[in-house]
């Protein structure tokens, strides 16, 4: 006989879980008591939101399911933001919450909340478990659902009496039952012959590579497809790293703050191959004018994404890696040199507006910091960003050459994500050099997790891009609200003293010439290091496609080197 609490841990061990992120409390105490008997590392967080972001970062860094644990009531509700973040970015996490005793459910008992009701629209599925016998089937099915198909979060709410009760476990009977629709790793349903005909006939094709490239492990297949047919690749924010940035066919990021030549190429292309991406409004701009010259092929594991936002000619629902592998032998070798030369010209035109090539005016710009960080770390750091201007600069200036090396909250855009997600990522991949890139706003949302990093003795490097503003909101106010800076000027603590108070190493940088030394000093530290980069306060992310505008109608960085009507 085993208790429900022991069964839960046994399930985790059987799933291969080695690390969990959590915070104890009354309704989850039986689980915590049983924890001491199992070979699993528990990371004590400072806020349950942190636990979910850590599980998320852990999952994205490693591809394994991340696990977060909290008590009932406020512990569970604090997880909501992290669960929604994981849902939007298809990150496989399992959240275990304690619940009041089953007899008390519905009585407004102390720390009771309807967490399965609350998280219903932001989980792939959730469970309320009220007896010890139901623990194993629920937990095992939760793992299967979290990682199958389009991955995502699953929550298991276990009542206190279910944790305390005992039963025999039939592990064979606890095998999860999943319908056929949830199997995958097969080439998708759809018209592959038509897709191949379109690919082989295209003169100006473009691959749009998303998060699905990494989720399905299709990195090599996508590159093989691109090289064989000489098709350039544009990536989404979450697709960064799926294809090496240094590869000549990788054009860079598309969308609202994508490279100008990428957005222009999308509008000029005669074929878009959308692979594991979902035509988010941040990558399409105005749907009515989006890529009107292009036929479109869309491959995604989630049928509900096909023809959702953009009408496509061929829709294929299924595993991306298997689908592209099936295509490869039938894809004709191509040259497409005219098309590649056309894009090269666009690239050259954009270089004159790049802040890296503009004369030094003595100010420290965020782009300088990111660029130096990239050079010093050789493009091989695992960077975890927060949300805002620094996130876009990171995406533009840090050239990621390896898969799963950028972790960022894309769909939900969750400020406060970076530090906890980086802690999860570091625990998943202890040998990786982990850098947090965060704004002074987002960092202040979850900076208490510095204590977690110190308690776990993690070597994480934090670059705060400190401009004294909620910078992206300020930028929108500058462009669209007549520079009325309502509630965006932001003061902060002395980040150096703050980090030192936590026991971390810290430094502040105000000049461009100091960036490389500070980065190197932080890298030498065997413990968590924080650098406060005090950058230009009113800098702007360029290019920018205003929300809902046509994708090629970008606001460009003014440059003293060029003068056009638009400037």
């Amino acid at each position: 006989m085993r208790t429900g609490a022991q069964i839960m841990w046994e399930c985790l061990v059987r799933e291969g879980v080695t690390d969990v992120f959590g915070y104890p409390g009354g309704a989850i105490l039986p689980v915590y008591d049983a924890m001491l008997e199992f070979p699993i590392r528990h990371v004590l967080v400072r806020h349950e939101q942190g636990a979910t972001h850590m599980a998320d970062g852990y999952a994205r860094a490693s591809g394994r399911v991340g696990v977060a644990i909290a008590t009932s009531g406020p512990g569970a509700t604090n997880m909501v933001t992290g669960i929604a973040t994981a849902m939007m970015d298809s990150s496989p996490i399992v959240c275990i919450t304690g619940q009041v005793g089953s007899k008390l459910i519905g009585s407004d008992a102390f720390q009771e909340t309807d967490i399965t009701g609350i998280t219903l629209p932001i989980t792939k599925h959730n469970y309320l478990v009220t007896s010890a016998a139901d623990v194993a089937p629920a937990v095992r099915e939760a793992f299967a659902i979290a990682r199958s198909g389009r991955p995502g979060p699953v929550l298991v709410d276990i009542t206190k009496d279910a944790q305390q009760g005992s039963c025999e476990v039939d592990w064979a009977a606890a095998e999860p039952r999943l319908s056929e629709a949830q199997d995958e790793a097969l080439p998708g349903d759809g018209d592959h012959r038509e897709a191949l005909a379109l690919i082989n006939a295209a003169k100006r094709p473009l691959i749009l590579a998303g998060h699905g490239v990494m989720q399905s492990g299709a990195e090599r297949e996508i590159l093989a497809l691109a090289e064989r047919a000489q098709i350039p690749i544009a990536v989404t924010l979450l697709g960064i790293g799926g294809v090496p940035a240094s590869h000549p066919l990788n054009l860079g990021m598309m969308g609202m703050h994508g490279e100008a030549w990428v957005n222009t190429a999308i509008m000029d292309a005669d074929l878009l191959l959308a692979l594991g991406m979902r035509f988010d409004d941040r990558v399409t701009g105005n749907l009515k004018t989006y890529a009107l010259n292009a036929r479109k092929i869309h491959v995604d594991i989630d049928r509900a994404e096909l023809n959702k936002n953009v009408r496509v000619d061929v829709a294929i629902a299924g595993d991306l890696r298997a689908t592209v592998a099936e295509w490869l032998p039938h894809v004709e070798k191509g040259a497409r040199s005219a098309w590649l030369a056309q894009i090269d010209t666009l690239k050259g035109d954009a270089a004159v507006r790049d802040i890296q090539t503009l004369p030094d005016d003595g100010h420290l710009y965020a782009a300088h910091v990111i660029n130096d960080l990239w050079r010093v770390t050789g493009g091989h750091a695992l960077v975890v960003t927060d949300v805002g201007q620094h996130q876009m600069w990171e995406a533009q200036y840090y050239k990621h050459d390896s898969s799963r090396s950028l972790i960022t909250s894309g769909g939900l855009g969750t400020m406060g994500f970076a530090l906890p997600a980086a802690i999860g990522a570091k625990i998943a991949r202890p040998d990786a050099e982990v850098w947090v890139v965060a704004g002074d706003g987002g960092f202040q949302m979850t900076m208490a997790e510095l204590a977690t990093a110190m308690q776990e003795q993690l070597d994480i490097n934090v670059a705060i891009i400190n401009n004294g503003y909620l910078g992206m909101v300020r930028q929108w106010q500058e462009f669209f609200y007549d520079k009325r800076y309502a509630a965006t000027p932001l003061s902060g603590p002395d980040f150096v003293k703050l980090a030192e108070a936590f026991g971390a190493w810290a430094a502040a940088v105000t000049r461009r010439s100091e960036v490389v030394d500070a980065v190197n000093a932080a890298r030498r530290q065997p413990r968590t290091a924080v650098i406060d980069f005090r950058v230009e306060q009113e800098d702007t992310v360029y290019p920018m496609v205003p929300a809902g505008a046509d994708l090629h109608k970008m606001i460009r960085r003014p440059s003293p080197l060029v003068e056009t009507g638009a400037d």
């Binding site: 629709a181 409004d281 023809n307 829709a315």
Partner: protein, 182 residues
């Protein structure tokens, strides 16, 4: 256009909530929803009527399949099918009016299932149109209370093969699809 879905789900607590919540979450308005047991133990059957276009219907179907307890979804809008609604209608009727009401009940092939000195309770089944029409003709006599089940539906014939949802086809996308900027 009104679409009728038949949704087979696991008979477990909270499943109705999951299905209804999906419609709310994706901004579809449910016209009617009925749920009950089927010939198969452990499986419930829902009939859901939604006013949406062909694009919305396919989107709903694809999203319904993402719910773990959903086993199968049939959009039977275009299929030859039997669609029924059941109503209980309490009508005020004394004296001469009572005779008139009972004649109407006969015309509509409905039944009187309860009689009291001041009222009759009428049970009627049929298409929604037929019941709407019955309610209209009864209204002048005084409809005191009414309850309707909403539609239940079943495709005609024996075809009942398991069919996975097809990808949403491109020509179904609404031309006026305009997602506001955020």
């Amino acid at each position: 256009m009104v679409h009728t879905f038949v949704v087979y789900v696991d008979n477990k607590p909270g499943v109705l909530n999951r299905v209804a919540s999906l419609f709310r979450r994706r901004a579809f308005n449910i016209e009617s929803l009925t749920v009950g047991h089927t010939e198969q133990p452990g499986v419930s059957r829902m009939t859901v009527v939604v006013d949406t276009d062909a694009y919305g219907a396919r989107r709903l179907e694809a999203n319904l399949y993402k719910l773990v307890p959903v086993r199968r979804v049939d959009d039977i809008t275009a299929a030859p099918s039997i669609v029924r609604d059941l109503a209980l209608i309490k009508v005020a009727s004394t004296g001469e009016a009572r005779t008139h009401v009972m004649q109407l009940v006969d015309v509509y092939r409905a039944r009187v299932v309860d009689v009291s000195p001041e009222s009759l309770v009428i049970e009627a089944t049929g298409t929604e149109d037929k019941i709407d029409s019955l309610v209209e003709v009864l209204r002048p006599y005084g409809v005191m209370e009414m309850v309707r089940t909403g539609r239940i539906a079943m495709a005609r014939g024996t075809a009942r093969a398991l069919r996975p949802a097809e990808p949403l086809s491109g020509d179904l996308i609404a031309d006026d699809l305009s997602i506001g900027s955020v």
